[in-house]
Structures are given as structure tokens and as C-alpha cells.
């Protein structure tokens, strides 16, 4: 008989008039997300929130500097040109891409059944529609920034 590691846990309090034979064992949840690649991918998806938050802070500082005048604004632009900032934004870019990908993968799960032309709209179609919308939104943004008069 081989014993390979005993899980540490706890008991529920004895029920049924204190019968010591009935002692349900509760296994600990610590480190649950390490137990399965599915959970690791979930955690990676959730961690993209830090990138979204960090970028909100960066933009917030930006509008603050904008309100403080041209010199302050140029200071913010100069900070964005530093190698540290560029490196950070590469990381943020990857995180934003992971966010977008996982967001559109989950999106079909949040929607009720949709029928188009008599057939049920599949999850993959909804996900691809999300990506298409992102492409259009990105092009619109670029047009807005470069074309603003």
C-alpha cells in the first residue's frame, strides 16, 4: 500500500447526535487555480484587469496634464517617449489583446439564443463579430486621432 502525500483539510462539526463515524472531510481550496490549465488560463484572463487599470491611470494623468497647460502636457508626452514607458506599453498591448480575445470568447455565454434567418447563431460567429467590431473601432480611432481638425 503506497501513500503519496495526505491533503490537509478540516472537518465539519459532528452531526447526527455526535456520531464520530460521521465526520465529513472538507478539502482546502488554497492554490486551486494551479490544479488545472483551464484555471491558469482563467487567472491570466483576470490579470489583464491590472493592465486596463494601469492604462486608465496613464490616460487620467494625461488629461490632468492637458488641463494644466501646454508645458505639463508636453511633459506627459515626453514621459511616454522614455524606454521604460515604451516597454510598459508593449506589455499593456499584449494584455489588452489577451483581454479582447478572452472577452469575445466569453461573450456568447452571456447572450440568450439568437436566431438569424431561422438558424441559431453560433458562439464562434458571435466571437468573430466581436473581432470585426474591434477592427472597425480601431480604424475609426486611428482616423479620429489622425484626422481631427
Amino acid at each position: 500500500m503506497s501513500t503519496q502525500g495526505r491533503p490537509k483539510g478540516e472537518y465539519r462539526s459532528a452531526q447526527h447526535g455526535g456520531n464520530s463515524m460521521h465526520r465529513p472531510y472538507v478539502r482546502p481550496m488554497a492554490g486551486w487555480w494551479k490544479r488545472d490549465p483551464f484555471f491558469m488560463r482563467y487567472m491570466a484572463r483576470e490579470l489583464t484587469a491590472f493592465a486596463v487599470g494601469a492604462f486608465a491611470v496613464i490616460l487620467c494623468v494625461g488629461v490632468l496634464r492637458l488641463a494644466q497647460g501646454e508645458a505639463a502636457w508636453n511633459g506627459w508626452l515626453a514621459a511616454l517617449r522614455s524606454p521604460a514607458s515604451i516597454a510598459l506599453h508593449v506589455v499593456l498591448l499584449v494584455a489588452m489583446a489577451v483581454h479582447a480575445k478572452s472577452w469575445f470568447e466569453i461573450m456568447p455565454k452571456t447572450m440568450p439564443m439568437i436566431h438569424v434567418g431561422g438558424k441559431r447563431l453560433g458562439a464562434q460567429t458571435i466571437t468573430r463579430a466581436g473581432w470585426a467590431a474591434t477592427l472597425i473601432a480601431s480604424l475609426l480611432l486611428i482616423a479620429l486621432v489622425w484626422g481631427w481638425r
Binding site: M1, S2, T3, Q4, G5, R6, P7, K8, G9, R12, S20, M21, H22, R23, P24, Y25, V26, R27, M29, W32, W33, R35, D36, F38, F39, Y42, E46, I106, P108, K109, T110, M111, P112, M113, H115, R120
Partner: protein, 251 residues
């Protein structure tokens, strides 16, 4: 073509409260044929090696929902999981995750049953109906709205997949909420308002963070993740619009 092995090793997490304070792994060697399920391996152990091994099973054909357990760290129906897919072994078998272990592979299901009762899992007619009115009629489109969710066999694999349930066992959970949706989505049913209290409560849909693993492990393709997450919209509507439509007494 490689020869099939003659035996396969199976490790089971044992727990006998009368003789040990913590669960302990025990290894068995089981004769192997390539048509054997994990359930059959357990039955061989119980019949010919160790009669003290305790586990639930019934139909042997993935419809009763009794034989759920963790096989190599993932929730499976043992009758539908085959040793040939787990070669060369050893196969690690543990009681369904996130539930208290009663004994060996038997978990406590009381909580789940209570939650199921709490969502009123039956058709609540929209208005009183006489026999003379005859049967309900449904179009295929109306059937499609709930049919998938009616496939649930209460096997609780989705609960083992759900970390939010593991972290907070008061969460109604994927299976119960999928069944709640099955009734809400049925055109014969008029109980949506009654079930809304469960949906919008602190034990309801808002515990879900859309991990989505529940739908991956469901042996019946129920997609509880969809049932739970589309009801977030319904619950949010109820939350924000509840002051607009005065509901007299809670019927």
C-alpha cells in the same frame, strides 16, 4: 501494434472516518482490458480485492448521474471514462472536488438537494388550467428555448468544476441555476418572478465570474455557463427596473 497491458494501477483517495483522521491514497493493481471503464475498475477492486471501497453508481450508462468523481484531477462520470484513454496509468481517483467527503468516493449531496428544492424545479402555470383545456402546445422554437437545459442529470460535475462554488459553498451553483433557467425559459411556465429572488440574491448568479469550466465538463452538453450568465442580464433588469412596476403583494 503495441500489446495491451495486462494490468493498470489505480490510486484511490480513501477516507474512513472511523479509522483515519485525514484522507490517504491507496494503490491497487487492476486486470486490464481495453473496454473497461473507471467504474468497472472500481467494481473489480470492490468485488475481488477490497470490499471496504465505497463509491456511488447505478445505471452504468451516463444517465443517472450517480458516479461522478475526479479522475486524474478532472471531474468525470466514472462509467463513461475509459481506462484505455488513461494509459499507462496510474489512474488517480478522488471524490468529487469542492464537496465534503463522507467516505472514500462518496460526497455529501445535502446542500445540492436543498438548493434544487429552493428554485421550484417544476412548471408553475401562468394561470389555472382545467383538464378540458387539453394539453399545452409548443412549437419547435419554444422547445428549443429550454430543451438543452432539461438534459441535466444532477451529476454535480459542474460543481466540481466551479471554483466559485468551491470558495463559497452557499452559491446556488451552475447545475441548479441551469435548471432554474430550464423552467423560466419554458413557455408553459409563469414562475419567473418567483424564481427571481434566488437569481438576484447573494447566493445567485452574481457569484459567477464566467470561468466557463462547468460547461466544459458537463457530460450532457447543458451549458450551465450560458444559463447563469444570460440571467445576469435578467437579474440586472430586475434590480434597476423594480421600482418602476409596482408589484402588489409578492405572489
Amino acid at each position: 501494434m503495441a500489446e495491451s497491458p495486462k494490468t493498470i494501477d489505480v490510486e484511490v483517495l480513501r477516507y474512513r472516518p472511523e479509522q483515519e483522521s485525514e484522507p490517504v491514497w491507496q494503490r491497487y493493481t487492476v486486470p486490464y482490458t481495453d473496454d473497461m471503464s473507471v467504474l468497472q475498475a472500481l467494481q473489480q477492486i470492490k468485488d475481488d480485492q477490497d470490499g471496504s471501497l465505497s463509491f456511488r453508481w447505478s445505471c452504468r450508462m451516463a444517465i443517472c448521474g450517480s458516479c461522478g468523481m475526479m479522475v486524474n484531477g478532472k471531474p468525470h462520470l466514472s462509467c463513461q471514462t475509459f481506462l484505455r484513454d488513461l494509459l499507462p496509468g496510474p489512474v488517480r481517483i478522488e471524490a468529487l472536488a469542492h464537496f465534503p467527503i463522507e467516505r472514500d468516493l462518496v460526497v455529501s449531496v445535502d446542500g445540492f438537494v436543498k438548493k434544487l428544492e429552493g428554485i421550484k424545479p417544476y412548471i408553475i402555470p401562468k394561470e389555472p388550467r382545467t383538464l378540458a383545456q387539453g394539453e399545452y402546445r409548443q412549437t419547435p422554437a419554444q422547445l428549443e428555448q429550454f430543451e438543452q437545459f432539461s438534459g441535466c442529470i444532477n451529476c454535480m460535475l459542474c460543481y466540481s468544476a466551479c471554483p466559485q462554488f468551491g470558495l463559497d459553498p452557499s452559491f446556488a451553483g451552475p447545475g441548479v441555476l441551469a435548471l432554474l433557467h430550464r423552467y423560466n425559459a419554458d413557455s408553459r411556465d409563469g414562475g419567473q418572478a418567483l424564481r427571481m429572488e434566488v437569481l438576484g440574491s447573494t447566493e445567485g448568479v452574481w457569484n459567477c465570474t464566467a470561468v466557463g469550466y462547468c460547461s466544459e465538463v458537463c457530460p450532457k452538453g447543458v451549458d450551465p455557463a450560458n444559463a447563469v450568465n444570460q440571467n445576469k442580464v435578467n437579474s440586472a433588469k430586475d434590480y434597476f427596473l423594480r421600482f418602476l412596476s409596482p408589484r402588489g403583494s409578492k405572489s
